[in-house]
Amino acid sequence: MKKSRSTGGFRVGAALAVLLKWIVLAFFLAVAVLPLLWLVLNSFKTNLEIQSSPFSLPEKPGFINYVNAMAMADLPRLFLNSVIVAVGTVFLNLLASSMAGFVLAREAWKGRETVRTVLEAGVLVPILAFMVPYFTLVTRLGLYDKLFTLVLVYAAINVPVSIFLVTSFMRAIPKEMEEAAIIDGCSFVQRFTKVVLPLSRSGLVTAGTFCFIYAWNEFLMAMLLTSSISARTIQLGIRFFTSQFITDYAGMFAAIVLSILPSVLAYVFLHNKIIAGLTAGAVKG
């Protein structure tokens, strides 16, 4: 009898623990998703509806806000600029960090750990601290207001994170794999391009996704280092919906939804590889 009572007590305790777990999870899910949901819903409302009943469902849902946003703020041009900057950033960043990761992870040389620590310590420096140096450097070099400048700066800012991710991944590749390539006749470059790089794909995808999301969402540096529409990105375009006296919230929300779509899609399609990249070396492969 005693035994069954204690088993029953245990069951109630376990059920409460499960319930508590779900309540906590639901809370965090709500915190993460509700603002996004609110944003999407409001992008289908009129400005009047947004101001009078911000939490209601749209009365007449339609894509008019999206059409207006595209027309008003030269969104297609800004969208294209963002694509160019994000793709260029990912390419340049992965080119540099994969090569750096290879020599840091696979080659033995004096001072390797010091160099790696210094490079990775860049993660700890707040991006705001780079603003003045970057502005001075960019203007002095005559690179102000150019898309390529954003590519260069974003790629550089992401180098510490990418090196950290790629190096961790490359370190997990068995040494014998590369030795087999040496015996097979691979040169230094071939070892990198034909063996280590393909085997680091998950790490590169992870680093590339982070880089893409950063480049796509970045606002501060784009604001600082560009001035014309030809060199500005979609995040700056969202500002065009706010003027001195009036703000077109409906158009702005539609533009924000459009602007966050690529980041969300990038994560949705690549999250498996991102997790694999982040956990590289955590367990024996």
Partner: protein
Amino acid sequence: MAKVELKGITKVYEGNVTAVDKADIVIEDKEFVVFVGPSGCGKSTTLRMIAGLEDITGGDLFIDGDKVNDIPPKDRNIAMVFQNYALYPHMSVYENMAFGLRIRKTDKAEIDRRVKEAARILDIEKLLERRPKQLSGGQRQRVAVGRAIVRNPKVFLFDEPLSNLDAKLRVQMRAEIIELHHRLNATMIYVTHDQVEAMTMGDKIVVMKDGKIQQIGSPLYLYNNPVNKFVAGFIGSPPMNFLTVKVVEEGGKLLIDEGSFKIQPAQAHVSYLKPYVGKEVSFGIRPEDLPCTEDGTGGIPAKVTVVEPLGAEIHLYASTPTQSMIAKVPPHHLFKIGDSVRFLPVLEKAKYFDRETDEAIIPADRVEKAK
């Protein structure tokens, strides 16, 4: 194919750690040589120096008469099979096997011919389109061997290639590698810590310990003529028994005295043992040279401590009041723990080792002389 010569090869790592100390080995053309020894004895380091994956600190390495100390691995014309297979996971079996030839810009048709020929030899023709992760351990090992075969190298190097396989597959692959050696007639150098692999596969065995070569010779030569206690104990399974005994002279006769028994050594050994009268030596006797009887006198009286019936034979663990030993006895003996037995050692086959140096008292060649 090629002859490989190591002359005083030494490897010293940072911090003055000597991994291999002045190794002198001659591996004849078409010979199958096995480097064997416990972990950390320097066998893999020696192999890696031959491959060119480790720099040689001292000494000279010759392949086919050419000094190759400073020649990069790709130009040494060697192929290596690794313990963990080291197959490229992003390539199919065909691509794995063809990779080395593609890097060397071999003609496409020739690559295809060689890969298919190697696949036929190894019976992996049906696996050519698969990725390594879709293969079993044995199949992966075959592909790793295939990758070596297609290159048609002067020397094949095997670094503990069977250690990741289960016992049954290991026996099968062992036979396949031996067969492959006969088929290819190639110079092969094989590293293992498993003395059974060494005994069954090698034309010649190099026994290593603490970076030093202990003895080089054919399996049977090492088995019958160990140069020291380490080789005697390492080669053979179950290992040789070592009993500490004292050499005494009684009534003009030379005897070995264990304390609980005294026996007369074989006549051929007496002259070697004479200088040790009054001293302790290690008396070595192999388990199969310890036939036993349940009664009678003489020999080594002992009590049974463990009985291991293996079907074809019994491994009998027994001990004198102070020392223990193991004997291989025929399966019809029915012993129980605690039984008294009497071993009648085949004294002509006994070995004696100096207690201070562990060297064999009856001398043997450190490097077996060529027949």
